[in-house]
Symmetry: D2
Subunit: 341 residues, 4 copies
């Protein structure tokens, strides 16, 4: 078979490990050949391809990013997007497609599948917010980077009287904040799923200041106070409609300074959470996802995506992938609250 | 309640995170008090205790090792061991015990439970070879350390003509070799579960030498060739009956040099795999194990150990813990073999 | 002798290594005893002391922060500050003082020395801006943390069209930006010593966007554009008179977005640059500083501070320490400019 | 000008940073062009070249190893070696050569220079044993890796009664052992420059065992006991005449077990010390070496090598490079001895 491969959405450590596994098993193992599409759905939409053979995947296992490039191009929002992709796949002689990406990418994959193209999906979201799989690769790496940063803040927290705030990724789901905060011993963790009461946050902060140590707060970029407590934040959007730096972390710092009279300092980790080499967990998971994806293609089992359940890699319907967002449940947040204050 | 806590067996990153979680939830949350037993079962056997309160667990989350100390003392092999422990627990007013450890430690826990002592177990094995749980803490850290070491070997493998061998932990189960080797792109992985044919290993090595790159082999300390291929290794035991350094990694290096005429160099990671700060994965897992253990004690749910199933922390019978060893199944090894040579 | 030790100013990886070396050589080697003063000059000012013996320094070598605590208390700004310190030293029977700190701390040390107290100084500044020494400990660690963060940004820069800005420490001297930016291959480095022309920065950014890669900018927190190019930044001070987050990095992001129409994202590393375990370079330097400091005390060579010259630890007058700031010279910045754009 | 570049000897983190700096300044800055020679002196000897332009050096700054490959081929030991190189340089139109390497490589560079070829040398030795420069790149990275490994051993040393031995690189000079051991708080450091008395080592080990902690020994691969204390070690050479694994670290472990009755375990770091990404210190040093080397070529200042003196990059005669080995002086070892036992 001649199989197209693409990576869509934000970059995420482990993408290259998936690609490598697909190619290393697909070519010498099954005798398939591959077409790499460049920059997510832009590739099949415009017929922009790159060589994808064993030589092309050499040495990429430990590297972040994606050798295929990525984009947020969404064919569903482009006139005749699906039709154009089908045309290009046909003219390139592509028999099947492996699409590696998040909600949006897999949504297109599903639409393509519904329109008759044989597609296998591989889930990717650094935020770990896909319901159909226990974990997605990239998440463990992001949590590790955030944890290490918070670990370092503890040194300062032990010798100065300052509230230290670390803003991490997570617009709609607080998994990174939850895991990094729990792993690094944060005194408060704020997540989008649970609007916070600034009075209660300040109470934790003040209670911590009464010990020898300073408080460390971990906050998802999408966290926000309960209604009525924040006025200005919403207006602070950039030209692209995203909440700007100087978002929630900065807002918190100002409120804490105002209410406690103590200094507050914010670290905004930003893109460093999604860069660099993947952890072992993510490399193994991504590799196993890739192996399972090429197995599925080889068995003509299309319309599915691969997923982790316990220690097994399984296949689930592509529709499951795009059903509901996996948010932090109340009981997981309650585990973390044990350590607040 | 007055609850004893001990850690037994080899040290393992995450032990302190378990202890901290137990104490942080047990004291302010439930109003229990704790007795720390020193050096595994030696503690309750000799009545050797240490203070275990909120202050004692401050700052220990990121630290490897165990603040309680550990030992391989086994009361089942000591005359009246169980009886002596029961006496000491009684005289110290200890109502229940949380035992954190591997097969041996949990075996004693089970015996104690059978003799009427309320016990909860927390599984610990850096080798990840307990059947009752998806993962144990410490394993992810060990795999990460080994992977990083192998990553570094690739640099040399790209510029010199030498076979590079990395010997990792794993006497009876090859999980560390499997995951680290898969994560770091090893050309051959040898594990105890599957005796290897030295001729086939040499064939992989020679095929790799024919490319521009040098072969990297990852080998569990307990790996061994099929019958008849190794004569001397068995005799090379130290005064304590353990296979010496200069074990399988060194034997492989000698064989490869002899058969290929190329240099071979061995790195023996040894104890550095079980030291240092735990990864985020291990800290979160260990913390959640600790929370579940103290919940079980609080609910008088004894004779159980905590375990990971998917993303849930569950409770299983202590007997499950000591049933069978979790070894690498054939299909998991087959996944890795895709990348051999 | 009975020797007081204190650490002043911001925390810095390596402080504990200095303290340990002083004590480990001072007690068993020379037979001195030590008094630890808490929280910088607040300690001797208020007579607040802590035990400082071999047991107290066990295990602290790899730890960031300072076991003695620190503060910015400045006795020169307190009525009778110097006199009160002298009284307390006398009543505690302290014969000599070792003061570990930056410009301010060493300024007090010098004043004390001038007023008759035997003092030895150990220089400390994470910004590396002391003229009298080739390097200060903590700097190498901070550069390493910043470099690793920028390394991670490259992953994203290779797959998305976004300008990525990393704001690092350095209010008055750009050493951290210079070294981290050079080590991590930044496309533009902006430092306080050289006000930048925003048009030229944008030109670099646009030239980079014309390649497949995105630009990475490293900027000292104290960097600023030439006169007339920035209006609002100055007003954005916090309650303590410091430039707020949303400082120069954020200003740059806004300007770049406005002028190029491309997204720009900022990471503000903040306190994570001064926390965590010191690098080997800093541990060795700090240890050797400590050894030299206690040697000087033992030889009654006071009024000096220790310094690095090449590979030697030497002694220089305390006045040298507080003379002029070591800023990035033009020729060092020119080295980095080779790689701009 | 048309300038040849080669890297010789063992690989070393920072080689790529040197190459990149030479090319990035040499092409756009000075208008030179480059010829990359493959695998050290084998390249010019056999006329084996590779493209070396701005594109070729993209992304190599953080990577260990060398894109040019390396070898230990020594033209001085090959008939007409120098003459053949001169012929090839002439026929390739190469006007000058930059040779990056250690004692051997620079020895050939010097011989070439003496025979009329314009050569500039860049020193490279992971062992830091070149007298003409304060530091060489790669050393800081190796020390960091060794330190991190020893840091991890401390965890075990705190909870088990075992002597832990870490064998590091250094056949003739003990710099890595000295710095890593001092940085990580080793209890004994053994280096080639100072044959050790096994009785005294055992005394340190036993004194340490009497505390709660276990001893950690750091030993250079080239360390050895005083005459008469070791019989068998010399015979344990591999087919290539190198001391085998199971060298001094293993010998020490056996002796300590025999004499103390306590277990001893050895970690042999081997090649992981020279692989992986360079530290910031090494990247900056290597980059500055490269810039200075191309400046020298551009100024027709040949027969020199670049060197670090304090914070300056200077030029010294190539003869200095090959004069005497820089070994650990007595007073530096004495600094470390303060912490023994």
């Amino acid at each position: 078979m001649r199989i197209g491969v693409l990576t869509g959405g934000g970059d995420c450590p482990g993408l290259n490990a998936v690609i490598r596994a697909i190619v290393r098993k697909g070519i010498p193992g099954y005798g398939h050949e591959f077409v790499g599409f460049r920059d997510g759905w832009r590739g099949p939409l415009e017929g922009d391809t790159t060589v994808l053979d064993v030589q092309a995947v050499r040495g990429i296992l430990p590297r972040g990013g994606t050798i295929l490039g990525s984009s947020r191009t969404n064919p569903l929002k482009i006139e005749n997007g699906i039709a154009r992709i089908k045309e290009n796949l046909a003219s390139l002689g592509v028999d099947a497609l492996i699409a590696i990406g998040g909600e949006d990418t897999l949504g297109v994959a599903r639409a393509l599948h519904d329109s008759g193209v044989p597609v296998v999906g591989v889930p990717k979201t650094i935020d770990n917010d896909l319901n159909a799989t226990d974990y997605t690769f990239g998440f463990d790496t992001a949590v590790g980077i955030a944890m290490e940063a918070i670990d370092r803040l503890h040194t300062t927290a032990e010798s100065h009287h300052r509230a230290l705030i670390c803003e991490v990724m997570g617009r709609h789901a607080g998994w990174i904040a939850l895991h990094a905060g729990m792993a690094a011993g944060a005194n408060v963790i704020l997540i989008p799923e649970k609007p916070f009461d600034i009075d209660r946050v300040v109470a934790y902060v003040e209670s911590r200041f009464r010990t020898r140590y300073s408080p460390i707060l971990v906050v998802s970029e999408g966290a926000h106070p309960v209604d009525g407590q924040m006025e200005l934040l919403g207006g602070d959007l950039d030209a692209f409609g995203h909440v700007r730096l100087g978002g929630i972390g900065e807002w918190l710092a100002k409120e804490i300074e105002k209410r406690t009279g103590k200094e507050a300092r914010t670290t905004v980790l930003g893109h460093i959470q999604r860069g660099g080499t993947p952890t072992a967990f993510d490399r193994v998971l991504a590799t196993r996802f890739g192996l399972q994806a090429i197995d599925a293609v080889n068995e003509h089992d299309f319309g599915i995506m691969v997923a982790l359940r316990g220690t097994d890699i399984v296949r689930v319907g592509l529709d499951e992938a795009t059903a509901t967002l996996k948010t932090v449940p109340v009981e997981r947040y309650a585990e973390a609250e044990v350590f607040f204050g």
